[in-house]
Amino acid sequence: MRVAACLYLVLLAPSLEAQGVRVPVLSSLYHFSACKDTPGVFSWLANPAMLPHILEERAAMASERRYMLKELGHHMLAACLPLRLGAFGFAGALSGNADMQERLLQLGYGRVLGKGVSLGLSFGYFSRQTRGYAGTGMLTWEAGLRFRCTPAFLVGLQVFQPAGGSSLEEDLNRIPAAYGISAGFSVSEPVFIGLQMEKRAGGAGSIAAGLHYQLSARMGVSAGISTATASYFLSVALQWYSFLLRVSAALHPVLGYTPGSSIHYIRSRS
């Protein structure tokens, strides 16, 4: 079961992650996953309070091609380092193409505050470069809380750049604030369901719901839906020793498919 749990851990990926960078379409698949009791390496980008619950040293890289368009590619790297003082996370994201690029570098820290409560903070530097124009950049920050009601039931609360308030439409040099609340419930050992409600200032609110089923110790399947873009998602993950490969796809009824993949490394404490 430990293998199954590890498999699931690395499935988890960002949701509110990289608000400055174009949010990956496939992130909606994993919105709910940041509430799992045993989160994966990308989960702290959804909620920094997940960091102290990532028990092993991990690293992962992920890519997606939005609606099959090369110009809308999205690439991410993430790693986490659990220490006695708390856990640290490092991440980088790159979105766009040579003509228009957005980048985000993040550093996160999280620790358990007490019985059932964890707090996490992350700080980042966001930059945007458009060919022929001067580049812009700014510092970002994010905070998250995680409440553990029972071993099977978790709730998270996330805030990104609350003082950043204004929307991109109003000021291209500022990025919008984002807020989220999520809940996750392990129905049984192989079945997990999750729900996240999210809002970006000036944008549409969204609800994402997902289900994960662990088919075997080495294979898991996740599926979900997000109301923001009315997209459906499916992901299959396979684990081989310390490595895990995930292949995902999202379907938008008008814009089409978004394929994605990620590879994860987990360093066992033994």
């Binding site: 019985k115 409560v117 009601c149 609340i181 809002k199």
Partner: protein
Amino acid sequence: MKVWMFFLLWTGPAVAQEELPQRLAAQLEAIAEAQQTEEVDEAFALKTAAWMRHPLSINDAGMKELEASGLVTPLQAAQLVRYREAMGRLVSLYELQAVPYWDLQTIRRIWPYLTLGNDVKGGMRERWKKAAQSIGLRAARVLEAAKGYRDTSGKGYTGDRNYIQLRYRAQYGQLFYLGLTAEKDAGEPFMKSGMKGFDFYSLHLLMRRLGRVEALALGDFNVNMGQGLVLWQSASFGRGGELAQLKRQAPVLEPYRSSGESGFSRGAGITMILNRSMELSAFYSRQRSSSSLSDSGSFSNLRHLGLHRTATELAQRAALGVQSAGLVLQYRGRHFTAGWNTAAFRFSNTLQKRPEPYNRFAPRGRQFLNTSLDYGFTHRNMHFFGEVAFDQAGHPALLHGALISLHASLDLGLVYRAIPARYVSIGGAAFTESGMPVNENGLYASLSFRPQHRVQVQVYADVFSFPWVRYRVDAPGRGRAFQLQLQFTPSRQSSIDLLYRDKEEGRNGEKEITYAVGPFRKQQFRLHYQSALAPGLTVKARGELCRVASGQEQEEGFLIYGEGAWKMKPLQVMARLQYFETSGFDSRIYAYESDLFGGSMPSVAGRGYRYYLILRYGKGDRFSAGLRLSQIIFNDRSSVGSGLDLIEGSRKTDVKMQVIYSF
């Protein structure tokens, strides 16, 4: 208009005594939204506190007391009485689990309000000596000066920005109530502009069980009849509540302990016991009410907010004389109850609504009379109730309902109402969309399901129609409402609520020659979490998304908040931080807030933040004090409010304080 909703009591896991449980708060939010009000009357909190101090004796309370308490359904009340007759007095509260239809959730919910014995009794002197008494001072102020306070043209507010309330309360169980309230709203003059003291005074005295006199009320009191088609002045819940709230249940006479300046009776009332199964109640009320009179002397608004801040509002003060009287004859048998109710109103001036199509059948004249028959009947696992009422012109109105326990974990509630547009009721408050018993037909069905002890599912569906046009709806129309609420309690300390609500009805669209009435649909989704992390430490979090579609236009609203409360006697600290963003007024979101004065239900529209901080200090049962600071900060506007309440700037800050001494 105030929300008259303060009767039912609730409790839940992991909440402080002052806090409302989530299910009840959600229901109050729905009612506030339907009635477009932001006020929650403090009488609700007072009632809860009184039940905590003097719990209901399950071994002594009869059918009447159990039903009137509002804690249980008539079916549960009947089963408890039957159980006592068969098995004798209960030896433990845990024995309630053996009573048919008393499920674990109900028992947990009302546990703090129950006791095995010690039914409060005694003569007048003893009641007075044992009564819990308190004196309180409350004050509030908006820190930013609104336009009305800066106006020098004579059209602004005549008083200062302070809200002040003084009150005295004495209560002994449900047998004796005495109280005095003196209040001045912000902007109202105090000892000036012809005002000799406070703007509003209210005095109440109510005593129960004085020999053959079941209840005697003097001063200000509430009168309740049947199912609200004729007259109902106490709490009245609407859709989405517990099944126990589906049927209107309250004594005919209740003390009026709120500070609202309308919607109550002032005079005297009495309930006499005629024999073992018959009671006769009578009341007479005479008061001066504020009203805006036309040049011809007529008035158009039955309910006045009670604000007397400007010269115009002061001129409306006590402009209208209102007299009312009524009789209630009640029969209470073993399984059957029936009542005959009649109420009459007489105004000093003529009631004349504006000549608009939606006022075609509105009440008109100086004298009004309503009469009705109501009933309640229990058969096995079913309880039926209803009321048939007639107005002065003989127009009938019907309301019938049923509460059915289908299974130990499954309850069904039904309410059918047929109230024609021509039916006129001055003081009614029935189970309808607007709360007013007029111009509505409908069928409501509610299902409460407890698949296991940690999960409760509540579903309701309501289909309704309006035979005549209404305000902002220029055609007769139909509507529907649906709600699914899932409460999951993974542990005694935590609970999570998921709510989905969908309502559609007609509303005026674009105006061409006339307004085209189109569908107006509002969908809401809510995730609410609360947990007691440690003794004295409670956290709450909520996210809510709301979508509104009206013709081609769409709006969206979002709200998220986190709240923490830390209680370490004698101090309690509570704080909430909230973000909101709506794309219009129709997508505004209501969220219940803890307050020093009971609770409040502010709606938020636009984009910005809202936070509040509450500090409470209580030394023993004698002394308590509280301070509340709340502020709303808009990101999308440079002024707050409108008219004389307009504040220049994007912030509005409220400060409230309260001091209570009990003896």
